[in-house]
């Protein structure tokens, strides 16, 4: 566990971690011997005794491992052999190609030579460095590549960080990111670990001084590999091969499929990235959708796979959590009632409809302020030109941009009501956050927003019908009884906690996949 970069909290028994040589740049041959020995430790019934000469050691290990891959009825040993030989995860073509080639070799020597040829070709073609590997056998690993390397904290990163921190307290898990060239997984640096598990908390001065681990690959073997976020695009091909062939179970949180189901509202490249993610998910074992609506999206994808003879992942719903910091429900500020619209200015959030309805109401003589909180979206041109025009006419319109959570929740508590007529949401977080603030919401009458609204405090509208949205905004601005009733319902809202979400998610993705609890 020389490279363990995780925070020492709770038990952390990793089933089997192979010894790693001293931390210095290894020679190519020494690194090869190390990698083959690591693979031998998990694949061979009995590993050959260590030969002090790395070249001879590599040769004897290679011979045993090639024999093992050749004799195996499954592709797993071939996958691990390729990973060990090249120091990089193989693609599906690599695995299938090697299995075919091994079958056609005349004898063991022939087979070893062919594997060495493959190594030489791959290593020189891809410029692979002489890395060492560590094999994690039989545990639970969580791929947190983006959350580990970025400080961004929007929907998916928030889920990743909350879940990882809660799982870290209760279970044994290993957090992984991708190597710089996306050749395979690696452990997190201490800094990255803190970024995932203790995001937003003060960093101890010592934390900056911790030595960084070496760049060795950390290879899951017969593990449960959890994808809490969309993995990096360049890793998709080898991750799909890992899911299909390695013997590890890949499981994932499913958010939404907007890039492919609403491609016209997103940059064109998004769909290209997302379909690569789908090539991984088609070989996943389980997906936990963040709402019934989200689960149904991924179930639709899974069912379509029958046409290509694949069982597809089983999909369950684990509804997402909502948790806001407690705050005083300040009395509505004097002056005009406030209407609040939370969410980034993406086209599918339908903010142009909100602007239009507000202007219709202002023109009819109603007085209220309209506030937006949220970052810029992909195509801001229409939103900008409309807000500029309305402001220049003197309309009380404020776009706060991105705000810290506490500021946003304060605005939300002070608002008369919020509007969230999104065309498509995996989980309409602004709806549940508004309710948790005790503020009523006008939202979309289908999908996840409808599911959240079942708890009360909401008015449902067809988001493609401006007249309906305008009518409901008018009603809440002019009918204090209706608003008061909804406010009372909203105050009674009990959001799901993160700890409930994390434990349901573990149950759905890990326990069910493993078959039985693996915790000591």
């Amino acid at each position: 566990m020389a490279s363990d970069g995780t925070v020492a909290r709770g038990p952390r028994p990793v089933a089997r971690v192979t010894a790693v040589a001293a931390r210095r740049e290894p020679t190519a041959v020494a690194a090869l011997a190390q990698r083959l020995r690591a693979a031998g430790d998990v694949l061979l019934v009995e590993s050959p005794a260590v030969d002090p000469d790395p070249a001879r050691d590599a040769a004897q290990l290679l011979s045993a491992l090639v024999g093992c891959a050749r004799d195996s009825a499954t592709a797993g040993p071939t996958w691990l052999l390729l990973t060990a030989v090249t120091g990089a995860y193989p693609t599906a073509d690599d695995v299938v190609g090697l299995r075919r080639a091994l079958e056609l070799t005349h004898d063991a020597t022939d087979a070893e030579l062919m594997v060495m040829d493959h190594m030489a070709a791959t290593v020189s073609a891809d410029g692979l460095p002489p890395v060492q590997i560590e094999i994690l056998e039989g545990g639970v690993v969580v791929d947190v590549d983006f959350s580990a390397q970025n400080d961004k904290q929007t929907g998916i990163q928030r889920v990743t960080r909350r879940v990882c921190a809660l799982w870290d307290a209760d279970h044994s898990t290993t957090l992984l990111a991708w190597s710089a060239d996306h050749n395979g997984h690696r452990r997190l640096t201490r800094r990255e670990t803190l970024r995932v598990l203790r995001h937003g908390m003060p960093v101890e001065p010592d934390d900056h001084l911790m030595p960084e681990p070496t760049s060795l690959l950390c290879v899951p073997w017969r593990c449960t590999v959890v994808l809490t976020e969309v993995p990096p695009e360049p890793a998709a091909a080898v991750l799909a091969a890992l899911a299909e062939f390695s013997g590890s179970d890949v499981v994932a949180i499913g958010y939404d499929a907007i890039p492919v189901t609403s491609a016209e509202l997103r940059p064109v490249v998004d769909a290209g990235v997302f379909v690569k993610y789908l090539t991984v998910l088609k070989h996943a074992r389980r997906i936990a959708g963040i709402s019934a609506s989200s689960a149904s999206e991924f179930r639709g994808f899974s069912e379509a796979l029958a046409a290509q003879g694949l069982p597809g992942p089983s999909v369950v719903e684990v509804m997402l959590a909502t948790q806001i910091a407690p705050g005083t429900g300040s009395a509505p500020v004097s002056g005009l009632p406030r209407v609040l619209c939370i969410g980034s200015h993406e086209l599918h959030k339908n903010h142009l409809a909100v602007l239009h309805c507000a202007e219709m109401l202002w023109r009819s003589g109603l007085e209220f302020e309209l506030h937006f909180v949220g970052g810029d979206g992909w195509d801001m041109s229409d939103f900008r030109s409309r807000t500029d025009a309305l402001r220049s006419q003197g309309r009380p319109l404020v776009d706060h941009g991105r705000l810290p959570d506490d500021d946003m929740w304060r605005l939300c508590r002070d608002a008369s009501f919020t509007v969230f007529p999104s065309l498509h949401e995996g989980f309409g977080l602004p709806v549940s956050e508004s309710l948790a603030c005790g503020t009523p919401v006008i939202t979309t009458d289908y999908g996840s927003t409808r599911e959240i609204a079942a708890a009360g405090g909401c008015v449902l509208v067809d988001p493609r019908d401006d007249a309906a949205l305008e009518a409901q905004m008018r009603r809440l601005l002019t009918n204090p009884e209706d608003l008061a009733r909804l406010r009372a319902e909203a105050r009674a809202y009990e959001p799901k906690t993160w700890s409930a979400y994390a434990s349901e998610l573990w149950e759905a993705l890990v326990t069910t996949t493993v078959g039985a609890a693996d915790e000591a």
Partner: protein, 489 residues
């Protein structure tokens, strides 16, 4: 030019909005009255007719909202701005009540792909039996235009193209832009140009037409690892438009499974999505001529040993590396046969090309032929001992159906559209991801004479299915039933 265009188009718009009735004297005044309180549909029609371009959804909504605030002049103003760019060269017609068939690809190119064959064979029969309006698109994909009779004749293969080289825009003196409105629109091909899909989506939503498409497969969405990188995003844009059509006829049950799965995804957005029905493609085998048989036999058949035929492009999805591997296993074990591939090189076919070269170098009787004429292909189907087609995903496994229609047994995948075709007899099915399963089936067909004879017999009692049947069934579902469903009949 602009004034003339406006002078022509205002009465066209007024007539479409008014319906039957008499024109008032001042078309502009009448249009402004008719546009008062315009919804998305009417706004879409006005923008399309006046500008001569089909608007995008964002434009329709922006203009409709602005008109709601500031009056119907806004719609004319927005359309005139677009007209200024378009120049007003085209004659605009509103295709009310027509059945518009969009065959842009077929009218521009003849690639001889499976999809084009479906479009052409179907359209031939639709055009013969029904009144249709065949449409293509302007070269900048901003509007649909009526195809001329000579263009349609070329698209249907009745006459050879002489006016314009393949791939070039046909020379049209004054294009006739057509705007479907309260019509029926059918898309019997795949659209990957974003200009078209971004205009088709609002057409499906706002043109008050009954709309329909043929669904071939969803491979770019569900098997992106087998698609060139630029295809899936453009396919996703087509799917975004198809969300709003009334009906999709898929070319197999398996393609239906894919579209149903996609529709489940779409329903999360509060959209019903299209009605989906599987109408399987037909196959009509062509009887090879004695001359073609002799030529193909002399050139491609090794005397005294059976020939195994594999038809299809060498993209990874077709799994031709598995065919080569299974064949090599059999050759090594002493089974004698030749292997012939017919099909073009395609995206990522390098692995196949290399392995083929290795096997040829080691003396195996294997060959790959590019661009074979249909005449020789049908002869080869007839001459082959059996065919192999172990694809991992097909909307419709055409080579399987063609082989069986030629009386030649086929080995194909045990799922999807290939299984559907195999079910009617004459085929063995295998797990295409298991080379040994493929090798075992091939060995059986090459060494078990009784099995081979039984399968040949089975091919003869397969139900016949013709293009006439397919065209009639698709017209009934996509057009007749579609229209009567809207009328509540």
């Amino acid at each position: 030019m602009m004034d003339r265009a406006l002078g022509e188009r205002l009465p066209v718009l007024a007539a479409a909005l008014r319906g039957p009735g008499t024109a008032s004297g001042d078309a502009r005044a009448e249009v402004l009255t008719l546009l008062t309180g315009a919804d998305d549909d009417v706004t879409w029609l006005a923008l399309a007719v006046i500008s001569g371009q089909l608007p995008t959804t964002a434009t329709v909504q922006r203009v409709r909202r602005a008109a709601q605030l500031d009056g119907p002049e806004v719609i004319l103003k927005a359309a005139l701005e677009a007209l200024r760019i378009e120049g007003g060269r085209a004659e605009v017609q509103v295709a009310s009540g027509a059945v518009v068939i969009d065959i842009e690809h077929l009218s521009r190119t003849s690639l001889g792909t499976g999809i084009q064959r479906v479009t052409r064979e179907t359209l031939k029969r639709w055009a013969k039996d029904h009144e249709i309006t065949a449409a293509g698109w302007l070269t900048d994909h901003t509007a649909m235009r009526r195809l001329t009779e000579p263009e349609l004749s070329v698209a249907l293969g009745h006459t050879k193209a002489v006016l314009a080289p393949v791939g070039m825009a046909p020379a049209v003196r004054r294009p006739q832009v057509i705007v479907p409105w309260e019509s029926t629109y059918v898309l019997p091909e795949v659209v990957l140009e974003p200009g078209r899909t971004r205009r088709l989506e609002p057409l499906f939503r706002f043109s008050r037409s009954r709309t329909a498409a043929i669904g071939f497969d969803t491979v770019p969405l569900t098997s992106a690892e087998t698609s060139a990188a630029d295809v899936p995003p453009h396919f996703a844009l087509e799917l975004a438009a198809i969300r709003h059509v009334d009906r999709v006829a898929t070319i197999s049950e398996a393609a239906g499974t894919e579209y149903l799965g996609w529709r489940t995804m779409v329903r999360s957005m509060g959209l019903a999505g299209p009605d989906i029905a599987a109408i399987s493609l037909p196959v009509e085998a062509a009887e090879p001529s004695p001359a073609a048989l002799a030529e193909a036999s002399c050139r491609y058949v090794v005397p005294t040993i059976p020939m195994v035929l594999c038809v299809g492009s060498h993209e990874p999805r077709k799994n031709h590396l598995a065919v080569l591997h299974a064949a090599e296993l059999l050759w090594r074990s002493g089974v004698e046969f030749s292997l012939l591939f017919v099909g073009g090189n395609a995206w990522k076919s390098e692995g196949f090309t290399q392995r083929l070269a290795e096997l040829r170098a080691s003396g195996r009787p294997v060959e790959s032929v590019l661009g074979l004429s249909d005449r020789l292909l049908w002869a080869l189907y007839s001459l082959a001992h059996c065919t192999v087609f172990p694809s991992v995903n097909e909307g419709f496994g055409l080579p399987v159906a063609e082989s069986l229609a030629s009386g030649t047994p086929a080995i194909t995948s045990q799922f999807g559209s290939m299984l559907e075709i195999a079910c009617d007899g004459g085929a063995l099915t295998v797990d295409p991801r298991d080379d040994h399963s493929l090798a075992a089936a091939l060995r059986s067909l090459l060494t078990d004479r009784a099995l081979h004879e039984r399968l040949v017999l089975e091919t003869r009692s397969r139900p016949q299915r013709t293009w006439d049947q397919y065209a009639a069934e698709t017209w009934d579902y996509l057009v007749d039933q579609n229209v009567s469903a809207a009328a509540g009949l």
